[in-house]
């Protein structure tokens, strides 16, 4: 949920937006904001599932340290969405397990 009005920060500026795709669904994001912010603003809290027990993980530290927020972005796994800005047309997918490097396991099908 976006905070439209704030007692200290004032009214939210109407900044340029971009469209991104998350698991096939198009959502609107503020240009340049971290992917994680766009997802949380859209109410999406689950970013990936763990390899062994398929447990949901989402944003935790929001500063690029804990790796809980990693998703597959434009086909590249293990992207820290809390420190990666959105770009128009970005394709983001919930990551299952560790993602797939060349010739690796845990394909994200």
């Amino acid at each position: 949920m976006r905070i439209e009005n704030h007692p200290i920060l004032g009214a939210r500026e109407q900044l340029p937006t971009v469209l991104i795709e998350v698991d096939g669904q198009v959502i609107e994001a503020v240009a340049g904001e971290p992917i994680a912010a766009a997802l949380v603003a859209a109410g999406r809290m689950v970013f990936r599932y763990t390899r062994k027990r398929h447990e949901p993980r989402g944003l935790f530290c929001a500063i690029g340290r804990c790796t809980d927020c990693m998703m597959v972005v434009d086909g590249v796994p293990n992207v820290r969405t809390c420190v990666t800005p959105v770009r128009a047309g970005m394709k983001i997918q919930t990551q299952h397990g560790l993602g797939q490097a060349k010739g690796g396991h845990d394909a994200n099908d």
Partner: protein, 380 residues
């Protein structure tokens, strides 16, 4: 390879202050930060700071950050953003990743101002989406203007927990309670008072026992602790929440200082393993300085003062400031630091900082061998 007189790693309040103090004395400074924006945690601090005029009291953290940034720009300090310092080597070379390439920076002196990371608490359900650090919540609500949930349980009543709880209210969320494992509130009474008069319960001797939910937090169970930290059966209480915020203190981010061979001391009052440093903020490795939370967990105001000390010390070491002028400037900083570390909230830190400059043998963490030629030998 890029060279500079002073490389400052971290552009939070300590790093910005170090860059300004050194550059204003004529030192060539390179300020490096891994984020896209400098300012560290300052741009999340939408509240008015305490202290005196000299400490920017009454000014909101965000505005202090803006002021420091414009000072840095006005002084012509080179700022390298989106750049991760991944390594520090014996000859004062830094390994920096920038634009997916490795870049080396050769610095005469280095000031590490890398800040701290948040502590976590493992409890059943702590990995559920919706359980977040206080810093994460603050970034979301105050920088990104995004609310992660409507009903929050705050774990931890230090100043961070109390301030973030208040900021959650300002952002439009409800804080169902602040729980604190200790038998007393950790932060300032005035911060607690603001929450209480807005209907937020503060429950001491209480901790979180469990979080439950399917794909995200839906419920939190708290429990009372006895004087031996044991959970008291029958005191469990369940809350409907969608966010659990962990405000459990900070630990210095000290990888680079370890790598550089700095000696550490283990001082719990300052957050754990802290690099030993003198009053110039110089570590046991000549030419390597530390400032801010890396040098001991305190506040933004002390971070700025420590950054100034390091900047002044480097300027003096490089001959840009006479000993007398450097001494005069440092005395002004010492006075302000003593003020910030006074009173019942500051005493423990003041004592801890004094001990850090002269630690007892048993407090020292395992020493690392000092690599490479001595700084003083090279400077001549």
């Amino acid at each position: 390879m890029q060279t500079t007189d002073l490389a400052v790693v971290g552009a939070g309040p300590a790093g910005l202050a170090a860059a300004i103090a050194a550059a204003s004395a004529g030192v060539r400074v390179l300020l490096i930060d891994e984020n896209a924006r400098p300012g560290g945690q300052l741009f999340k601090q939408i509240h008015k700071f305490f202290g005196s005029k000299d400490h920017y009291a009454g000014t909101r953290g965000i505005d202090i950050g803006t002021r420091l940034l414009s000072d840095v720009e006005a002084l012509g300090v080179e700022v390298m953003l989106d750049s991760v310092v991944w390594g520090i080597f014996a000859d004062h070379t830094l390994g920096v990743i920038r634009d997916r390439r490795n870049v080396r920076v050769q610095a005469g002196s280095i000031c590490l101002a890398t800040g701290a990371s948040e502590n976590a608490l493992a409890f059943p359900g702590w990995t559920l989406p919706g359980v977040m650090g206080a810093g994460a919540i603050q970034t979301l609500i105050n920088v990104e203007r995004v609310l992660p949930g409507k009903r929050v349980l705050m774990v931890g009543s230090g100043n961070v927990g109390l301030i973030v709880s208040y900021q959650l209210l300002q952002a439009g969320a409800q804080v169902v309670a602040v729980v604190e494992a200790l038998p007393r509130v950790g932060g300032y009474g005035v911060h607690a008072g603001k929450l209480r008069r807005n209907g937020v319960p503060i429950l001491t001797s209480t901790t979180i026992r469990e979080a439950r939910g399917k794909d995200r937090v839906e419920k939190a169970t708290t429990v009372v602790l006895d004087e031996r930290w044991r959970q008291v059966p029958g005191t469990e209480r369940e809350y409907d929440v969608d966010v659990i915020c962990l405000a459990l203190g900070l630990t210095p981010l000290s990888e680079l200082a370890w790598m550089a061979g700095c000696q550490f001391a283990y001082i719990p009052q300052l957050g754990g393993h802290v690099p030993i440093h003198d009053e110039d903020m110089q570590t046991t490795v000549p030419g390597i300085y530390v400032a801010g939370d890396l040098a001991g967990i305190e506040e933004a105001s002390t971070a700025m003062e420590e950054g100034k000390l390091a900047g002044i010390a480097v300027a003096q070491a490089l001959g840009h400031l006479s000993a007398a002028e450097a001494c005069r400037r440092k005395e002004a900083v010492f006075k302000r630091l003593d003020e910030l570390r006074s009173g019942p909230f500051g005493e423990a830190r003041q004592k801890a900082k004094t001990r850090l400059c002269h630690p007892a043998v048993e407090e020292q963490s395992a020493p690392r061998p000092r690599p490479g030629p001595k700084h003083s030998e090279r400077q001549g």
